[in-house]
Symmetry: C2
């Protein structure tokens, strides 16, 4: 990996740290509107593709048969902070199929949100699988299995009907060939497939437009985008990128963070999908990169300004430095590249 420096971290007059990365902005025909770094190296998108992984739940009709609504769909697409509302949404979804936390196979961790974690501790409680940031996605998997008349037990395994459907959707939407050789295990135990950034951006352009997707899948994508736009507080949490940006911009933008410095997004009105990865896995760098691309291509200012160049303050609140886009992301002009 020899990708360019795309984000710099300053302290005083110096660059203290620097993040390399790659990124792609692609339309629903596969045309590359902008790219930097190696966009053909397969990377694990991790949680950045949760909305695509949620397609089978909607497309299968399970959502309608179970009476699931926007909140259920949104939490199924979430990497949530473990706030009370997140836990309640995942619990409510499971209840609709008579299931509970014990049916989740994502494992247990303290809430990602520090505030939520401390609130839980202050209440003298300990976390359950419902606090896992992926609990909504897993609740969706359990619901899909139940709606299809399949035993949900073991739903995280690659051979389970749920994961077979999820992998099919991910491969079909992104156009990437997925198999045992692209597969590893994600933090929440489900398969994690490696997919090039070019294919991820292409997939999100199709997710955003429905172009090139079967009608039922295109409708499902539209419903998922509407649900997330209706419930942005459920997909991440207070102060977090996805929640703050989608709450402010509504259906004009879809964004989703993933572990290890991946970020995917879509601009439905422009028919564009976006995908970036920081080489080193840095979340702070991925946020600056995707914010820079969303500002450049979407024409947004606030609320992205605070994410493209977040200031660094010390514990006394004094400004000591900042993050900033660099190299291919430092200019204001898009650099078009040829079609793939």
């Amino acid at each position: 990996m020899s990708n360019p420096v795309a984000v710099e971290v300053t302290r005083g007059e110096r660059v203290e740290s620097a993040h390399r990365g790659a990124g792609a902005v692609v339309d629903a025909d596969g045309g590359v509107a902008f790219a930097f770094g190696d966009i053909d190296l397969p990377v694990y998108p991790r949680s950045a593709v949760k909305a695509i992984q949620a397609l089978p739940l909607v497309e299968s009709g399970a959502v309608d048969r179970l009476g699931l609504g926007d909140a259920d769909i949104a939490i199924a697409c979430a990497s949530h902070a473990g706030e009370d509302a997140h836990v309640a949404a995942a619990r409510a979804m499971l209840a609709k199929v008579g299931r509970g936390a014990d049916d989740l196979e994502c494992g247990v961790h303290w809430p990602l949100g520090e505030r939520a974690a401390r609130a839980l501790a202050r209440a003298g409680a300990t976390p359950s699988a419902l606090h896992n940031n992926c609990s909504g996605k897993h609740a969706g998997f359990v619901c899909l299995a139940c709606a299809e008349g399949v035993d949900p037990a073991g739903y995280v395994a690659p051979g389970h009907p749920v994961q077979r459907a999820v992998t099919e959707a991910l491969g079909a939407v992104t156009g990437a060939r997925l198999g045992a050789d692209t597969r590893a295990v994600d933090g929440c135990a489900i398969p994690a497939h490696a997919i090039p950034l070019r294919a991820l951006a292409f997939g999100f352009a199709r997710f955003a437009t429905g172009q090139g997707l079967p009608p039922g899948r295109a409708l499902a994508a539209r419903r998922i985008r509407a649900a997330v736009a209706a419930c942005p507080s459920l997909v991440a949490g207070r102060g977090r990128f996805d929640t703050e940006v989608m709450a402010a911009l509504g259906p004009a933008v879809f964004t989703k963070t993933g572990a290890e410095g991946v970020f995917c997004a879509a601009l439905p009105d422009l028919g564009l999908g976006l995908a970036v990865k920081a080489d080193d896995g840095g979340k702070r760098a991925a946020e600056v990169m995707i914010a820079a691309l969303l500002i450049r291509f979407g024409g947004f200012g606030a609320p992205l300004d605070r994410f493209i160049a977040p200031g660094l303050v010390n514990w006394n609140g004094t400004a000591v430095g900042a993050l900033r886009p660099a190299g291919p992301l430092s200019g204001a002009t898009a650099i078009p590249t040829g079609p793939p």
Copy 2:
């Protein structure tokens, strides 16, 4: 910065993320035993130089005049987790000069240690400046001012006698020229000076041997190393690199982490100082890099094995990947380079 990839993060059969970095192993004459990347670019060592910043407290005789012991000196060198013992040590040190948390100018944050933060929340409490990971260093600054008959107020400012003494020690031990042009502000509000890795490693070789230092400073360095070796639990916290490694290896090794991917260390018996920085500021990369160098040059196995190649498990405890040294750190043979 075009340093080599020195740490890889794997998931399944692929490299998911990679960290570039630089590092130096230097003797007390300035001879470079090993180096990779750019070791002449000034970097902010941040908290990695706390032990050197503690020299004036000991060298001035303040420690003896105030009756400070090993625990006081160790907490003055700490980036602690905010455990009860850490808070108590900082409080006890301040009490020896009739001061308290209100005299600390480091700012307030929740304990770095998640367990300690949750314990504080569970008790219905909120943090004070004593929970700041730098509270011991700041308590040392307050003690130094009081012992010298100087008003401690404003001790974080570059022009205060305390910071003038600290900067003089840092420059003299590392041989780096420090001034307004090398200075920024650290997370805890004190000056942060940019220093090349070569000079940092050289400084820690001298800190470890006393070679080339005035007798009083050499004695102070020895006393600080002995105090840290006697109280390793105070310098970081349960499960943390510095505490675990120094608790297991005793005075044969000195290590100290710093923010933004810096790590410094010393091997007193071999007369070597070590310094690394991950370009992207990644703490996990710095730990692997310094562990690789300590194993290569110190001949240690356990307890460093778990830090040189930590396994990554998901929330169910399943192995999903690992960190590993790469490039210049992947071989077992040192690559000597010429003297500086």
